[in-house]
């Protein structure tokens, strides 16, 4: 059994364990935490595809989340079927992802970071405009979006189930893409775009592919969030929300597949518990902790938790194989 298989089996085992929680602890809070973790895991994973795998410095991935959420929410308040809302939200997000990818094919490094940051910020200001208030709700945001209901299942379980479906679909598709030929091409592009294109990689196609994939699932996550929580505000487009997700990615390790997912589960668990038990002063404490930990992790554990673990396993395997050849 090689390192990759070991990690896959471990990840599946942990995932199953976490998903036993809603069946044994049937209190509202733990189910809420698990379903939120699944949601943020999808968002963090799709963001890390751009940041860590393809090396595209996207700083505004929540733009797609916001588009998915707002489009699905508006469609649902107009009385459309939830399936239509999901398709509309995710496909529009994907189309915008393709558009942004197409426009920014030649932008690199810091320019890309500013461009995406600016797009997200502009969207946040546009949805708050008074002229658009009949649709987006203006500064108050979308309220009273009709929630998804399944007859015979309690609301909190519906939320959990929808998030689980979203998570499984997104993770399976992303895993197939990342572990296959395209994942290799992503990493080749991350290491050096010029060199990869000399070797015959179609950089433009790869960039568009990774952008549309990331946008599609982030948009779907936004739509899912809007339709299961019943509200969508511009808070989701705030820089502080971006920082929360980026922090999950950094903690888990942005160049690994399981890193962002693990980071999302860990950080959602910690922050939601803090939010529940440390009322009022929490915002301050949480932000202080996050902002003190970010430089430390980046400096000393820049592979992230999962990345560090994978590195350890690989080193051990290498050491073993060296010992075997020496015999």
């Amino acid at each position: 059994m090689n390192t990759l298989q070991k990690i896959n089996i471990l990840a599946i085992a942990i995932f199953l364990l976490v998903n036993l929680i809603p069946f044994f602890l049937s209190d509202r809070f733990s189910i809420y935490i698990v379903s939120r973790s699944l949601l943020w895991a999808v968002v963090a994973l799709q963001w890390a595809l751009l940041l860590g795998h393809a090396g595209i410095y996207s700083f505004g991935n929540l733009f797609f989340f916001g588009i998915g959420g707002y489009v699905a929410g508006i469609a649902a308040t107009q009385g459309y079927n939830p399936v239509v809302c999901f398709i509309a939200g995710s496909l529009l997000a994907m189309a915008l992802g393709l558009g942004i990818g197409r426009l920014t094919l030649k932008l690199k490094g810091i320019y890309m970071a500013i461009f995406t940051f600016v797009i997200q910020e502009a969207t946040r200001h546009i949805v708050q405009l008074e002229h658009l208030a009949p649709w987006t709700g203006g500064p108050v945001g979308l309220q009273n979006i009709p929630k998804i209901r399944i007859v015979g299942i309690e609301e909190m379980y519906v939320q959990y189930l929808m998030m689980l479906i979203l998570f499984l679909v997104s993770i399976v598709v992303s895993y197939i893409v990342v572990s296959g030929k395209y994942g290799l091409l992503f990493r080749a592009m991350r290491e050096s775009e010029d060199f990869a294109s000399i070797l015959g990689v179609n950089i433009h196609r790869i960039r568009l592919l990774v952008f549309s994939l990331s946008a599609l699932f982030t948009g779907l996550a936004g739509a899912m969030f809007a339709l299961t929580s019943g509200g969508f505000t511009d808070e989701m487009l705030l820089v502080t929300t971006s920082i929360d997700v980026l922090f999950m990615i950094i903690v888990g390790g942005m160049s690994t597949f399981y890193g962002p997912i693990a980071g999302a589960f860990l950080m959602t668990f910690i922050t939601e518990n803090l939010r529940a038990y440390l009322l009022g002063e929490l915002a301050v404490v949480r932000i202080v902790i996050i902002s003190l930990i970010i430089p430390i992790i980046l400096k000393f554990f820049n592979r992230g938790l999962v990345g560090q673990f994978e590195f350890y396993l690989k080193e051990r395997e290498r050491a073993k194989s060296i010992k075997l050849t020496n015999l």
Binding site: L103, L107, F115, F117, I126, I243, V284
Partner: protein, 289 residues
């Protein structure tokens, strides 16, 4: 009547432009010479405003408050470079790591001011009161004072960058850091000085902002976004381009606010940046620092 409104909003635009130019030229200097997109720049503006407000309530002297408003961000800039940015220089993922770290610093500074000064909004009294009458036009003395102070500071920066040995070294580093190093420029020292000066400029613009708008812990966010827009238009790291584009942008902003609606001014500016990035990824103006 309409001519008076036009004149008034132009003067407001120029005053705002001076403030923006101070903040954005600091950011452009830092990006141009030290290669850092400092996301803590907005928080440094806010810290400068709070420092100036503190000094003003203590002594009541504008000169003392402008000094403290300059000095505290100045030292914070040194600390940022020495503690947070330098460990990530010349390492893999330098650009993105420094962005992350500067965001962390921005959050910390915001929380610091929230805890120390509280959520209540503060304001620095106007530098000058009263109006000057020029025939049918009236110009507020406050706006004239802001324009004067900011242009004086920008001139000082220009003299520093072109006439002093240190300034010439900074420009050399921004053109080609490696060649400058070969010729004996101490890069670490230049980076520290550049961050200190850039942050000091942010502090002064915070002081001026505080004298027309309110001071609150989150005021830096908007200023950061505006500064980023301006330096992107001016071609990241180009100080002259930055100054020109900050005046253009502030005039557009104040005219849109007068004739269209306040809500649209920021989205229009942000859209303009996106278009500029797509058409000319290096900004409107060429050259650096």
């Amino acid at each position: 009547m309409s001519l008076e409104i036009l004149a008034d909003s132009t003067i407001s635009g120029l005053a705002l432009g001076g403030i923006y130019a101070l903040a954005a030229s600091g950011l452009a200097l830092v990006y141009g010479a030290a290669g850092v997109l400092n996301f803590a720049h907005g928080s440094l503006i806010m810290i400068g405003a709070y420092a100036a407000w503190f000094m003003f309530t203590l002594t009541g002297s504008p000169v003392a408050s402008i000094l403290l408003g300059f000095l505290i961000p100045f030292t914070l800039g040194v600390v940022l470079e020495k503690v947070l940015f330098s460990p990530f220089r010349k390492k893999p993922n330098e650009t993105i790591n420094i962005i992350f770290v500067s965001i962390a610093a921005a959050l910390l500074l915001e929380i610091f001011s929230l805890v120390v000064f509280g959520p209540r909004r503060k304001s620095i009294p106007p530098l000058m009161t009263g109006f000057y009458n020029l025939g049918t036009f009236t110009i507020s003395a406050q706006k004239l004072a802001i324009i004067t102070v900011s242009i004086a500071m920008l001139l000082l920066l220009w003299i520093f960058l072109t006439r002093t040995r240190l300034g010439i070294m900074i420009r050399a580093v921004s053109q080609d850091a490696e060649s400058a190093q070969i010729l004996g420029v101490d890069l670490k020292r230049i980076y520290t000085i550049v961050l200190a000066i850039g942050s000091g400029m942010a502090g002064i613009s915070g002081f001026l902002l505080g004298s027309i708008f309110l001071i609150y812990p989150k005021m830096g966010e908007l200023q950061l976004i505006i500064s980023i827009i301006i330096i992107s238009m001016g071609g990241l790291g180009n100080v002259q381009g930055t100054i020109i584009s900050s005046f253009i942008l502030s005039l557009i902003q104040s005219l849109t606010a007068t004739y269209l609606s306040l809500g649209w001014s920021l989205p229009i500016m942000l859209a303009a940046v996106c278009v500029i990035f797509i058409i000319r990824p290096t900004g409107i103006f060429k050259g650096r620092v």
